[in-house]
């Protein structure tokens, strides 16, 4: 039997009482419970309210919360793996040539200036700024119908600060030590670090594009 709009609304409000903060999971639980209640009412004499409670109880004690936490964990792990995979790609054949060229260019251009640190600072803070722009740009995909989108939320938590803070720290170190910045060895090290920093940004950007693309395909069509 099909539930009517008032019954579906009751289930929506019932689920909302369990504080499911993510849109995807809320919709998935809602669909499951509606299906389950419809089947229970079609095959037994159980009243509607009892059928709803039974359907929810099938998720187990604290079931929604446990599933929510598990999903956050598996998604965080997935994004970290994907990010590392993309970043590693920049240091493997054939992309490593681009990375090497970038590092050499940083070294050569930096050496042309009286204070080479400035060029590297521009690259590091530039990568950081671009990452911040990327975050702001994707803010519009953070919520659907006033509910957080799990994918975007986990993505921000995993990378929002992960990309910006190390760059900021490195930038500060460079700035602090700028007076001693003359030796070719130090310049080589910082050229490599600037390259890693920039490639991290590119990896972050690529992954963000994938995540947003998937969200758009699923929930913004």
């Amino acid at each position: 039997m099909k539930l009517n709009e008032a019954q579906i609304q009751y289930i929506r409000e019932y689920i909302d009482a369990f504080d499911i903060k993510y849109y995807e999971l809320r919709e998935e639980f809602l669909d499951h419970i509606i299906n389950s209640v419809e089947a229970r009412m079609a095959t037994t004499d159980v009243p509607f309210i009892r059928a709803v409670t039974d359907a929810k109880d099938a998720f187990g004690h604290n079931g929604f919360k446990v599933i929510m936490t598990e999903r956050e964990k598996s998604l965080t792990l997935q994004y970290k793996k994907q990010f590392q995979g993309i970043l590693r790609g920049y240091f493997k054949f054939p992309q490593i040539f681009i990375s090497l060229l970038f590092a050499i260019a940083v070294f050569v251009v930096s050496a042309m200036f009286e204070k080479p640190v400035k060029v590297m600072l521009i690259i590091i803070f530039g990568a950081m700024l671009l990452a911040a722009v990327q975050i702001i740009e994707s803010l519009r995909y953070r919520k659907v119908n006033r509910h957080l989108l799990l994918e975007m939320h986990v993505f921000y938590n995993t990378f929002g600060f992960a990309v910006i803070i190390p760059n900021l720290c490195m930038g500060m170190t460079l700035f602090k030590d700028s007076a001693d910045f003359g030796s070719p060895l130090l310049m080589t090290v910082f050229s490599i670090l600037s390259t890693v920093s920039f490639m991290s940004f590119l990896s972050y950007r690529k992954l963000k594009k994938e995540v947003v693309g998937n969200i758009k395909k699923l929930y913004f069509n």
Binding site: D31, V66, I67, E70, S74, Q78
Partner: protein, 113 residues
């Protein structure tokens, strides 16, 4: 889930096998299909099903599609290309396991404990 400890390790393979046969399915449909096939002997709980589906999705073995059904969203799961390959491997492993268990439970004459 009946005899949950015995079935626990095979849950992912059961899900993947069902998706291999049915193309795409949603959560509730999977629980009902399992109940139907096993004539009610095996009941996959929601608390076990969804973490398993989400983990398979995170591992890149499942892909999702979302459709509007009766004015609400329904999330369908289907195997990815690597999921299809993995299903073949896992089913072979499971068959091997069942064969070994069968040998242990009913040993051939002359091989009894």
């Amino acid at each position: 889930m009946k005899n949950s400890q015995l079935y626990k390790g095979s849950l992912n393979t059961i899900i993947m096998k069902l998706l291999e046969e049915n193309g795409r399915m949603y959560g509730y449909e999977i629980t009902q299909k399992v109940k139907l096939i096993t004539k009610g002997e095996l009941n996959i709980t929601e608390g076990a099903l969804y973490p398993a589906l989400h983990k398979l999705e995170a591992d890149g073995l499942l892909d999702v599609e979302v459709e509007k059904v009766d004015n609400r969203l329904r999330k369908y799961y289907k195997l990815t290309e690597s999921g299809e390959k993995e299903t073949v491997n896992r089913l072979a492993e499971l068959e091997e396991f069942i064969k070994n268990m069968q040998s242990l439970v009913s040993p051939a004459p002359g091989l009894q404990f």
